[in-house]
Point group: D2
Chain length 231, copies 4
Amino acid sequence: MVNKKIKRPFFIFNPKSFLYGEELLELAKVADEQAALYPEISVMVTAPFADLATVSAATTHITVTAQHMDGIVPGRGMGHVLPESLKSAGVGATFLNHAEQPMQLNELVAAVDRAKDLGILTIVCADSLEEAKAIASLGPDVILCEPTELIGTGQTSDDSYIEATNAAIRDIDDSISIMQAAGISTADDVYRTIKLGADGTGCTSGITKADHPKQMLIDMIEAVVRASKSE
Amino acid sequence: MVNKKIKRPFFIFNPKSFLYGEELLELAKVADEQAALYPEISVMVTAPFADLATVSAATTHITVTAQHMDGIVPGRGMGHVLPESLKSAGVGATFLNHAEQPMQLNELVAAVDRAKDLGILTIVCADSLEEAKAIASLGPDVILCEPTELIGTGQTSDDSYIEATNAAIRDIDDSISIMQAAGISTADDVYRTIKLGADGTGCTSGITKADHPKQMLIDMIEAVVRASKSE
Amino acid sequence: MVNKKIKRPFFIFNPKSFLYGEELLELAKVADEQAALYPEISVMVTAPFADLATVSAATTHITVTAQHMDGIVPGRGMGHVLPESLKSAGVGATFLNHAEQPMQLNELVAAVDRAKDLGILTIVCADSLEEAKAIASLGPDVILCEPTELIGTGQTSDDSYIEATNAAIRDIDDSISIMQAAGISTADDVYRTIKLGADGTGCTSGITKADHPKQMLIDMIEAVVRASKSE
Amino acid sequence: MVNKKIKRPFFIFNPKSFLYGEELLELAKVADEQAALYPEISVMVTAPFADLATVSAATTHITVTAQHMDGIVPGRGMGHVLPESLKSAGVGATFLNHAEQPMQLNELVAAVDRAKDLGILTIVCADSLEEAKAIASLGPDVILCEPTELIGTGQTSDDSYIEATNAAIRDIDDSISIMQAAGISTADDVYRTIKLGADGTGCTSGITKADHPKQMLIDMIEAVVRASKSE
């Protein structure tokens, strides 16, 4: 099911290209059960493009999320990620400008526009405070502040970085949700990040490489709920 | 269903990003019926990434074909087209290096390698004879010779171009199938192209913009069969 | 000679890759003579990378301007445009994010930063109002508002487009100079554009393809001066 | 001075973006003196784009070499590296497809063609044997076989890799010179590489980061001469 608005706080399970097919589907179903239990938060799950329709068909409560989308309209665009195809497959949100798929500024502008046309939520990545400010002027739903050098290292952003980016983005447009996700590898990291003022967080290898990925996914979603309630 | 080997001649319906969802699915089913009628040829249908699983689930006789694939292995690769995800969605072939999504040489080498690993057929595009020769050394299943300036114009490649590229590629590796598809807009164009010695052909807007797309698709597939029998 | 601050109004002769070597040098010298005559405006001349040092050595009054620059630091960066190399060759300004060389947002942020480090003026291109706003947040010296579809057509931006972009950018940061240059092909276009409120303008093929390029260059620079004085 | 044909063996001092301005010029002059002493080998020196004209003007015996070139013709091409501009600045050779600036296959084909038009020698980089074979079909002057994972590590390619690539390329076109340069950091590495059958070699940080860069440059050029004579 597609959520029209993102709820705060939110959690994104982003297995990138680590998972696909059956293994991904099982974890997506776990996330879906948790999302049913906690309707007060948004739970989002990304999938490789060709897995999106299957994940969407098997779930109800999560927001199925693409890893990237191109700002094209139906037409030629061979080999690009067509927004209408995502929408038709049940996709409700998309990442844009991830450090592993950085976008030209003109393409990013076009992609945010197309997402708004179709009611697809946008999570736009920034790897510096300056980049975050430029992105804020485009009015995305979420900005993910993730210093490139920390991705996949298991190191979290330090508190001052998180607070500075939060303040700078809210100063430009406080309707934009802020996601902080650098180096989240435990449920405690999740809890700490939400308590520090992030609207949402997420995780990749902290879940996919955990000894018990399903349990870690459950623990992290519960940590979001817990942090939210204690506010 | 995934065909392990491409049959000669073959026909590729390549609606690019013109179609998605229900409209694409209906035409794919028509192609599937034709493919069942003519098991002596290969019928391939492309789809935007997020439509591939649905098209695959609804068809049996066509080779479901991606518009592009990245030569990555499962892992990070956020926003890229994961070969294992395509395979798991029922994809049997992929275009690579299309003029609308040109690839770096190192990425093309990696993508052809990954496709071979997974048994995914490769249709690699060349927009000049020199490019076709370099591609031939990589051992793809099909080379599509399509002078960039003719794409979407309704003009076909002239006979001498077709014959020169056929000869040059067969000289390097005659196990590579040759596709000629510039400006195919009628069933007669299809017939003529196969008779001129192409192993296969295909069509985009000649079908999607036809007055009766389903009938045009049927007519073109029948033209391939007819050209093949009269050899 | 490198100007540290851009003067308003300014004129940029941007022959892109149409000119190089002797032919470019002659026109750059004409521009230099005009710049000496009118010290109240900035006259800038672009050159292909390998012509920059020669143009710089032969001129005194113009700001020698690169067509692009990469936001790298001295080190590996094989094949990229090193800021320090430009600076050392006498370059005083650079275009960034031109429609023919669009930049990733993270690269644009880095390039603007490096230019500030070295005292190189930045002229950053935007092909839509939304893009212009995002760029304004990076604090470049000049924003060039040039709807991509008009480049090289001889059509000028209409007055309402010019006024809307001027207002939007000045609203964010009124220290940023605004350049409007779509379809400038006569001295009258230059005059009109400055009178409409642009801080600067420029020209490519209106000069390089003029019957008398040197005279056209002189006429356009004089039109800037005239428009400025009549304010 | 521009050499029309590359001599075997050859040595390329490739300081990438580590050096520019005066420091680069001094080393280029040292290389030029060595090139005058040993006319039986080719000595090539790369420079960042904006340094090429200055290096060329100050030297006579080396082949001034660009780090990259785009396969464009004079015209728009804003921000790209114009072949005619390089030629006019005295450039006699160019690297293409370096791992730090990988090229699309169609662009590489165009760049090799333009270089042949203008008499600019091409050194095309390959990071795998398969890539080297595809490149060989384009008929460049030199292929540089450099496994990406070894660049800048100080580790040399092992002997079997060097011999396998030499054999594969010579099998396709034995007029192509073969350069092996992975991890060259001492004059002994240079000697060994030429003795193993490479037509040429080169060095970046082994020289720029040496305690005495000028002496290391001299030692390496002499090692090429020595290896050549002992054959």
